[in-house]
């Protein structure tokens, strides 16, 4: 049978899943952690603890402050050293809580055992509340608070829940490892989320470069007639929710719309696993699976890491920073961001740390556009990146808005295929920010 995929645009970079098949290694807490108060999309959380306060692992330290916001918990036990601004991935300084680790004392009521808890009898509302309490956000990278997604807006209805096990970014294997090792828990998590959302049907999409995961999840869901596992042809950016919906259901999310407009809600496998732990084990989101990888790295690995752990600690655990490192990226090579410092913490949205060699870490010289239209063919949203860049360069933001710049999912396929190495996405991203500003100022009037 021919495998499905999305129909428009897309690229197929080398997969380079160096850490595939590596067991998830549980990392002990580092000496100090920095927990930023804004790890999610939406309003930053409100700090609840004071300097020098003692905290336990799993204790609520910052509370949701607004509708689109969520809770943040201490990922370690110890003393609050500082509540201050810390350098984040961009080099700018944002508010965070620094905790000096001592021991590993957990908050009461959290089930830390590995026992599988299958049964649950919660209502949708209880599930939603537990997910908000636990501070769960989309772990695929967008970090949108999950409890908000579970609230279907009035006048719309959810028919399908899609679970995203695509992991289309090269190098990353965190979701793959999670499916291989925590498959049983994931199935329970899927059922919990289905209940929370009130849907009858769920589809788990996995790309064909993970045949073991497809097989494993298929065998685990044999008895579940409402949960389907589908293999998908390898194609970037299939992990984008709009692309995934189109690949699995052949439904197109309208421009500027959300998946719920076509009756679908998408969650990442990591998010579903976190939901399982939150609902069945009372465990808040204080750790996540992170892939640490790179061609020169001695031991590319998948780690279960406490939120707030410095990146340098992870690299140390993989055999140290290779001498030929040119760039360290948070996330995958396509959408990730280069780090300005190795002391930045792992946050809820960190899916991987990629060490690029000096020789492969530089951009090529920017040459003139030769009108080859490769960027148009590669764009999965049907945009014209070369045009958007030209408009962005000339600050024609109204025109950019007309050209649907806000539909861009920032997958980077255009920049990837450009033979002239033009910084297409840079200008598009900038244009998106400016267009959003325009829209806000229009609303203000």
């Amino acid at each position: 049978m021919r495998l499905k995929t999305f129909s428009q645009g897309g690229v197929h970079p080398r997969e380079l899943k160096l850490s595939a098949g590596k067991k998830i290694e549980i990392l002990p807490p580092p000496e100090t952690v920095i927990i930023p108060v804004s790890q999610h999309l939406g309003a930053p959380s409100k700090v609840l603890v004071e300097k020098m306060a003692d905290v336990k692992t799993g204790q609520l330290i910052a509370k949701s402050d607004g509708f689109i916001s969520t809770n943040i918990h201490a990922s370690v036990s110890g003393k609050v050293l500082k509540i201050d601004d810390f350098t984040d991935t961009s080099g700018y300084r944002r508010k965070g809580i620094q905790i000096k680790v001592s021991g590993d004392e957990w908050e009461e009521g959290i089930d830390r055992s590995d026992d599988l808890v299958k049964e649950f009898s919660f209502t949708s509302e209880e599930i939603r509340n537990k997910i908000l309490e636990a501070g769960i956000v989309g772990l695929g990278g967008a970090t949108f608070p999950s409890h908000v997604k579970l609230m279907v807006p009035k006048g719309k209805s959810a028919e399908y829940m899609i679970i995203n096990g695509v992991e289309c970014e090269p190098y990353l294997t965190a979701d793959h490892a999670l499916m291989m090792e925590r498959g049983e828990q994931l199935v329970v998590g899927i059922k919990i989320m289905m209940k929370g959302l009130g849907v009858e049907k769920a589809i788990l999409g996995i790309e064909a470069n993970k045949p073991d995961a497809i097989q494993k999840m298929k065998s685990l869901t044999e008895q579940e007639k409402n949960i389907h596992v589908r293999g998908l042809k390898v194609r970037y950016p299939q992990g984008g929710e709009k692309q995934l919906i189109q690949a699995l259901l052949n439904r197109r999310v309208p421009g500027g719309g959300l998946p719920i407009d076509v009756g679908v809600v998408v969650f990442n496998v990591g998010t579903v696993y976190a939901a399982y732990e939150a609902v069945q084990k009372n465990k808040p989101l204080i750790e996540r699976v992170v892939t640490v990888t790179g061609k020169s790295l001695r031991e590319p690995s998948n780690f279960l890491v406490r939120i707030g752990t410095p990146v340098s600690y992870l690299i140390e655990k993989c055999g140290g920073l290779p001498a030929d490192t040119g760039k360290v990226i948070s996330g995958g090579p396509m959408m990730g961001k280069a780090l300005t410092s190795l002391e930045v913490p792992i946050v809820k949205g960190s899916s991987g740390i990629l060490l690029m060699q000096e020789s492969e870490s530089h951009r090529k010289e920017i040459l003139p556009c030769i009108r080859c239209s490769k960027c148009i063919s590669a764009c999965p949203m049907g945009l014209e990146p070369y045009l958007l860049m030209a408009l962005g360069k000339n600050a024609l933001f109204e025109r950019m808005e007309e050209e649907k710049v806000l539909d861009c999912i920032e997958c980077g396929s255009c920049s990837y295929v450009c033979p002239s190495a033009r910084p297409l996405l840079d200008y598009i991203r900038f244009g998106k920010a400016e267009v959003n500003k325009l829209i806000r100022s229009r609303k203000a009037i």
């Binding site: 601004d85 961009s90 080099g91 530089h362 910084p423």
Partner: protein, 287 residues
């Protein structure tokens, strides 16, 4: 043959005459009165269409000038007081004099004071670099050095110094139109009073971080210690968010604040050398 020529000429003349009559009446019907002074005022303006006055071009500014009651808030920074006086005499109004101003780059972060920690290869504009990250030197307030201000200057008054990586303003060419002030995504450039002999004293830093943090990224950052604030006899210096600011309208150029600055963040430009140098001065980047 001749007949064809004659017919052609006659018919063309007839069409032309007909069109002329129609145009005459249309012109009468849709006639718009325009103040003839607009033309004259526009001629008096520099014609750079730089937008420094806040209006899209010289023509538009001329219309506004003719329409307005007084010149309050209307000033052509390029032409300066001379032009405004000329315009005032055309319109028979009082000119409001303004001190001539000049653009000043308030960043001192040359490579010798600010070690470069990262290397930026993205789209070569400051606006994009600013939206992505703090900058090669790690200072989230410092100059990104990609020259958005240079590109926007219509008078070739700013250029990048390849050694310092900072833009330099040529005071004699700068018209204080303010285009660079708007173009800089970090707000580093300020229009300051152009004193006699282009003398200037200013805090060449806009970093609002705490002193220790600011200094970690840049040795010549303002650390907000308030020593200059205390030294100033004219209350020209204000302290806000760990940053000193010298108001160029109040500053009397006494230079008392300069030697007390522990990080040499305050620059004095255009002065004769001091007789006894109290502290070793920072190499002047804008000269």
């Amino acid at each position: 043959m001749n007949q064809i020529i004659i017919y052609t000429v006659i018919s063309l003349v007839a069409i032309g005459a007909g069109a002329a009559v129609i145009l005459y009446f249309v012109a009468k019907l849709f006639r718009t009165e325009e103040d003839p002074r607009i033309e004259v005022v526009e001629k008096a303006l520099p014609g750079a269409n730089c937008g420094g006055c806040g209006y899209p071009g010289c023509r538009n500014f001329a219309e506004v000038l003719v329409r307005s009651e007084s010149f309050d808030g209307l000033f052509c920074p390029v032409g300066g007081n001379e032009t405004m006086a000329a315009v005032a005499s055309i319109l028979g109004r009082e000119a409001i004099e303004q001190e001539p101003r000049v653009a000043v780059v308030r960043c001192n972060g040359t490579p010798e004071f600010r070690s470069l920690k990262t290397h930026y290869e993205g789209a070569p504009t400051c606006a994009i670099a600013h939206s992505l990250y703090a900058g090669e030197g790690g200072c989230p307030y410092g100059c990104l050095g990609l020259g958005d201000c240079v590109a926007v200057c219509k008078f070739d008054a700013i250029q990048m110094n390849p050694v310092t990586g900072l833009p330099e303003v040529m005071d004699d060419k700068c018209t204080a139109c303010g285009a660079c002030v708007d173009a800089c995504p970090r707000g580093i450039i300020e229009l300051r009073k152009k004193n006699k002999k282009d003398r200037k004293i200013y805090v060449s830093c806009i970093n609002e971080e705490k002193g220790a943090t600011a200094k970690k990224n840049c040795a010549v950052a303002c650390i907000g210690c308030s020593l200059c604030f205390k030294a100033c006899p004219y209350e020209a210096i204000t302290m806000n968010n760990n940053l000193a600011f010298i108001d160029s309208d109040k500053c009397k150029l006494c230079r008392k604040c300069v030697p007390v600055c522990p990080t040499n963040a305050i620059l004095e430009i255009g002065f004769p050398p001091r007789k006894t140098e109290p502290v070793e001065k920072v190499a002047d980047s804008s000269q």
